[in-house]
């Protein structure tokens, strides 16, 4: 399979588009006509051919443009990438995990040649060729985590595991749904989840943490999360709220189909071998409502979910004010017919 990479933007003129293929493989997150938080975790052991679950780190048509957007964010705000001193080893773990996975899963795009600690990395889409010494930071232009995550789609939280908890002690976060690494760095699982409504009382975080602490090498896990974003913006950070917050008021009945996006995060969990830490990649997929309703089951179901989602969740996710507009638009694609179980198109 060769990928035709898009030349597109996630800011200013917003030229981002999804091809037919990207629409078909979009990770639609709702397996029934309603939504509530749950401990929705499963094993991450591949998935149907061509789906976003098939490879350990999905590479798609947005790859090159997403990496350009990340570089722009980092130029303006270097604090989007931070690593506390004890996390360097976990950074090497992550670099190894990604380089090995990508070179095995996409041999036509990425190559990794290893001779002891002398490594040679070739990233063809980005035109990068790097010879370096594994575990020797002085041989790379950035620290190991920053180096590899400038070449990998999605945000990354690197977690240290100690005292029966996970600690967000490093990360690369430029495509987030309104949370801040600079604010969360050094916090534990319960602290950084404090703003989430309802889930604490439901016991979700207590159970989720126990499951995460038990994730072993070779047994990665995954879950989906979602929100709504106006315009195909990757960087919806609190740091830049003054830039994107106001765009939420530009929705009209005429433009909602093009401007309103469903934003889905594929979140995966991998145990890191050398540091015994964990990496939490958060990969963001965007789809306009207009594209989404081309799959009739998804249009029907999204209408019902958005209409009925509890107010606290719609407020927390930041679309409460636009909900009437969105529901109005989607209602045109819901004929009331029953929908089949599961997320896949009929």
């Amino acid at each position: 399979m060769t990928i035709q990479f898009n030349d597109e933007t996630f800011r200013d003129d917003y030229t981002f588009t999804n091809s037919e293929r990207a629409i078909k493989r979009f990770p639609f997150p709702f397996h029934e006509d309603s939504y509530m938080y749950s401990v929705n975790m499963e094993q991450h052991q591949g998935g149907p051919e061509g789906s976003i679950y098939e490879k350990r780190f999905d590479v798609d048509e947005h790859y090159i443009s997403e990496m350009k957007d990340r570089a722009l964010v980092l130029d303006e705000d270097p604090l989007r990438c931070q690593s506390l001193p004890h996390m360097t080893l976990a950074g090497w773990d992550l670099l190894e995990l990604i380089m090995v996975s990508k070179s095995e899963d996409y041999p036509d795009l990425f190559e990794l040649h290893r001779d002891g600690n002398n490594w040679h990395w070739i990233n063809k889409p980005l035109g990068i060729e790097q010879k370096f010494v594994f575990m020797d930071e002085s041989t790379l232009p950035y620290g190991p985590m920053e180096y590899i995550t400038r070449q990998t789609q999605g945000d990354f939280a690197l977690l240290d595991q100690r005292d029966e908890n996970l600690w967000m002690d490093a990360g690369m976060v430029t495509t987030q749904a309104d949370w801040s690494l600079d604010f969360d760095i050094g916090m534990n699982f319960f602290e950084w989840h404090a703003p989430v409504p309802k889930a604490h009382e439901m016991g979700i975080f207590k159970r989720a943490l126990k499951f995460l602490l038990n994730i072993q090498q070779g047994m990665p896990a995954r879950r989906l999360n979602w929100t709504m974003t106006v315009n195909p913006l990757l960087d919806t950070s609190p740091e830049n709220y003054h830039k994107w917050g106001a765009q939420k008021t530009t929705l009209t009945p005429e433009n909602v189909g093009q401007k309103q996006y469903l934003r889905v995060e594929l979140q995966t969990f991998f145990r890191l071998p050398r540091s015994n830490g964990m990496v939490f990649p958060i990969r963001c997929y965007l789809i306009s409502l207009e594209d989404l309703v081309t799959i009739p089951k998804w249009g029907r179901r999204l209408h019902r979910v958005i209409r009925d989602v509890p107010e606290e969740l719609a407020t927390y996710k930041g679309f409460i004010d636009n909900r009437p507009l969105i529901v109005d638009y989607l209602s045109k694609f819901d004929d009331g017919a029953p929908t089949s179980d599961g997320v896949w198109p009929d």
Partner: protein, 321 residues
């Protein structure tokens, strides 16, 4: 997609008796490939087919975590126990094929520590051997205090004192040498973490002393093994499906239900998501709850079970499925 299974087929490539009680075993991948890297303090669970029973025993990996060609473990023969150590000593030969788990670390170094203070008793030395190799490669600061019966039974004493003459201190019980623990703990620089692996009495002694001297709980680490996940076979009856069958010792209840052709719900297969929750109609015996989902009172009620991780010991259990 090659991430996946967490078991590895290996071949025993070397067996070295170290002294009267301890023997070292070396494993390499059966397919000739590389083993996963690991972190110092990790163990692997070794499956031993001993006649009708299969034993699952955890052993600390003592080889260099960066060396992916082979894993080594050292096993102390326990003549009183029924367990796997006798089997390894008596039945396993070079060239034998075995199955081991991916490395699991429940005794990891705290990488924030400015200094790692290690206290080992007897065969408890093994996880420290890997940790010391890891720290030596990254210029980490450590100090090891190692108590053993005598010179003859002091596994790896010579290797350690030769390689790290300034950081290793050995105490032979038979010569009346003893660790002056209070003094040792008192003189440590700020940011030191303590690690203990050895007999239970030693672990308690160090933990109690550290607590009394005001050490923070998070700075004191000790080796704890999780009980292996398998258990005794048992019989289950599914009321709705009208089926009765046996759950094998290495099968989970969920796997056995699936093998019987019943489509049961699941998501995480790790006792967290709640999907597989099943009502218990009758249980002549004891449910072994191993999940994080059910509340304590639900567990006690004996009316619910999470078949992805929990088991049963007794005559028969009847489920509403």
């Amino acid at each position: 997609m090659s991430a996946g299974t967490n078991k590895i087929d290996v071949v025993v490539t070397d067996i070295v008796p170290l002294n009267e009680l301890v023997t070292r075993f070396k494993f390499e991948r059966a397919d000739g490939g590389l083993l996963p890297t690991f972190s110092g303090g990790a163990h692997t669970v070794i499956e031993m087919k001993d006649g009708e029973t299969t034993r699952l025993n955890p052993y600390s990996l003592m080889s260099d975590p960066a060396d992916r060609h082979a894993y080594t473990i050292s096993v102390r023969r326990d003549d009183a126990g029924r367990g796997g150590s006798l089997f390894l000593h008596k039945n396993v030969r070079i060239g034998d094929e075995m199955v081991i788990s991916y490395p699991v670390n429940l005794f990891a170094l705290d990488l924030r520590a400015r200094k790692h203070l290690m206290i080992a008793g007897g065969i408890g030395i093994t996880p420290f051997l890997a940790q010391i190799k890891q720290l030596s490669a990254t210029n980490g600061r450590f100090e090891l205090h190692y108590a053993c019966r005598n010179q003859a039974l002091g596994s790896y004493v010579d290797d350690l004192t030769t390689a790290h003459p300034n950081n290793v201190h050995v105490y032979f019980d038979d010569d009346g040498q003893a660790l002056d623990l209070e003094n040792l703990l008192d003189g440590q620089p700020l940011g030191t973490h303590i690690y203990i692996c050895g007999p239970k009495g030693m672990i308690n002694w160090v933990r109690d002393t550290a607590e009394r001297l005001g050490w923070p709980r998070e700075a004191v680490h000790y080796e704890e093994f999780l009980a292996p996940q398998s258990g005794k076979p048992f019989t289950v009856k599914l009321a709705k499906s009208d089926l009765e069958f046996e759950v094998g010792e290495h099968q989970s209840l969920l796997e056995a239900i699936e093998a019987a052709g019943v489509d049961a719900p699941y998501l995480c297969r790790g006792g967290a998501c709640g999907q597989c929750e099943t009502d218990v109609l009758e249980a002549d015996g004891e449910i072994l709850h191993r999940d994080h989902w059910l509340e304590d009172d639900e567990k006690e009620s004996g009316k619910k079970i999470m078949p992805c991780v929990s088991r049963f010991e007794g005559r028969i259990i009847v489920l509403d499925r």
